[in-house]
Amino acid sequence: MEHTIEMLNITKEFPGIKANDNINLRVRKGEIHALLGENGAGKTTLMSVLFGLYQADEGEIRVWGDKADIRNPNDANDLGIGMVHQHFKLVNRFTVAENIVLGAEDTHRGFLTYDKAVERIKSLSRQYNLNVDPHAMVSDISVGHQQRVEILKMLYRDAEILILDEPTASLTPQEIDELMQILKRLASEGKSIVFITHKLEEIRRIADRVTILRDGKQIDTVEVKNTTNKNLAEMMVGREVVFRVEKAPARIEEPVFAADSISVYSPTVRKDVVKNTSFDVKSGEILVVAGIEGNGQSELVYGITGLNPLSGGRLYLNQKDITGYDIRERSLAGISHIPEDRQRHGLVLDFSLEYNMILQNYFQTPFQSRGFLQFDVIREHAERLIDNFDVRTSIGAPTLARSMSGGNQQKAILAREIDRGNDLLIAVQPTRGLDVGAIESIHKQIIAQRDAGKAVLIISYDLNEVFTLADRILVMYEGENVGEFDPAETSESELGLYMSGSKRRETS
């Protein structure tokens, strides 16, 4: 079997950590090869070595059977290796065509010409069904479109080996479907594809083989069809994993929170994106708001937590009208919030973990006394949360939030919000981007809150998560509550009809 890429005995060390330890990766022509591992397992490092961003300490790389010396991304490009990074490398204020030609521009007598490039972009776009508009401004196109631009950028440079780093992390389900089709098409035309992921479903759908990394070591390389998801998960995490956390029957009691025909105005689209929506959340219950991303869910939570003002309706917490409360007052009145964008709304990334743990109540005793912060108390508080919630850090409480992995950042936020002991816990996409191990632990914590009699409101775009957590499901479509469901009496396909707007039900 012909190998396009062979990475042999690759070892790469960073100060204090062996990111890659003697790893062997062989990729065949026309193959989709998945690289599976938890955050921090060394997947991205390995691909960065292949793409010339890092040099391996030991080992060698062969491309088409010949030993290759890849010192920088230009060398990689010359060898036909292209990479789509997790954070796209696009200039927002350039057109698609300008972005694609950048670094490989055509000129005529010293002046840029785009005619040939635009033709080529159009024909590649047709060939692989990428649907890329060369004249669009990057800032105006969707994330999915941007990703297709990145793929086209590699093809424009005649890449034969395509590396994609967590390509589905920021895509909607439809965009993921499209991407899967595109990758299959590329592979069938003879391109080799390596994609980094921690999502088992994606591997099952398109990958031929999968290499599993854990803690910088290669656990195995297997044919996808000869293995089960359970097997893969265990190899990835190193222990047995429960996909769907067991939960006891809910003991639902009094309503804790009620939204009474609320509307939220979005200044970006200049209209109400939550329209006249009512619901309540009872103690001992998890209410999950399901729906396709962008149907007003984010704004619903902004409206409840006070990040955006309501344009209509009233909010009640424990029978008290909190509509006029500002963000801090709502938080003190008993709302805990695990925000959708954990790095923007959840943490101050350049603060240490201990200060992040007191963001909402640094001004209260015992964290301050006579206007001065009480460092001992703050430190003890953080250390207690780190222990209780198994937050992994490099140096404990003084660790910089920025330096922590996504999963541990999320655990830290969860710890802070739960510890405040509020009656209502709101979590938006609590497990987005996390690997199965972290998902399991966060789901367990959320269910424990329900069992402790808290009211829990979850926003999720992931139907697996909806069914794992929900005691009651509310579907949101175009800013409206289009139906409430008992998870035991509905199915994914039924919810899908409501989520896509093809059915709706009047709610009582």
Binding site: L53, N72, P73, N74, N77, M83, H85, H87, K89, L90, V91, N92, R93, F94, E98, N99, V101, L102, G103, A104, E105, T107, G110, F111, L112, K153
Partner: protein, 323 residues
Amino acid sequence: MIADIFNEIVSVGAYVIPVMIVLLVVSLGGLFSERSGVINIALEGIMVMGGFVGAMMLYFLLYTVELPIQLAVFFALITGALVGMGFSFFHAFASVSMQSNQIISATALNLFAGAVGVFVARTVYGYRRINVDESYRMDVPFLSDIPVLGELLFQDAFLSTFIGIIILITVIILLYKTRFGLRLRSCGENPHAADSVGVDVGRMRYAGVLISGLLAGLGGVFFVVAFQNRFESDVRGFGFLALALMISGQWRPMRIFFISILFALMRVVAARADSIMELRGLEIEPEILRILPYVMTLVVLALTSKRSKAPEAIGEPYDISKR
């Protein structure tokens, strides 16, 4: 009547255009640096350095070598441009190679330039002023015969006017029509994107800062020749005004061009406040006219900065390890 208005325009234009060209050229310099991703508030200091050494060179060529005026100016311009470029190298080195804070590094240049100007001038000439008071205006052959435009632009004009216009056209072409321009702009917007396709971000940023130094140094000499007729330890805040103009012009050459006319007009009104009063018999305090350009700067900035389109990666040292 029409002839009156026309004469009026020409007579105002004679004062406005040279000022406008100084602001335009320095502003375009700032644009190069900032479009490559490096904030350059050192324009003032670079202008001072360029103007100072340019004035020394001019003094030497005029009174020691005794070259014809325009030829002496020409060499003084080249000297000023090269000095500006050399001086801006320090800013490039600090902010690109050493990844230091770009505001601090530029402030250092601003402080240094004023001090060194005074010190050297006093040491060499005994006083801080370098006097090069000559008539630098000239008629351009052929072009000055064109009606209206020729009279406005090419009669009794400074060499700087043509150089300025050529620079404007060159900048637009360079920035938008060449490979260099595309790559330079990409470094100011998203250096990680540029780097990932093999553009050498460091080199492009050096180029941006050095070109800005070249233009600001040139602007410094323009200032000495076409505005002050001497060098006197500073450039009257023209460098900072050029910076404000660049921001109001949203980092785009043509907008900067139009706003430079506006700013120059106000600057001239302020400088000639007294004589305008007398001529028109207006009952306004001259102080009001004098503060006009500064008030307008604030107003224009306040109005334009809200939709300001600064390059996205401006001021961020490019750190390879974050890619």
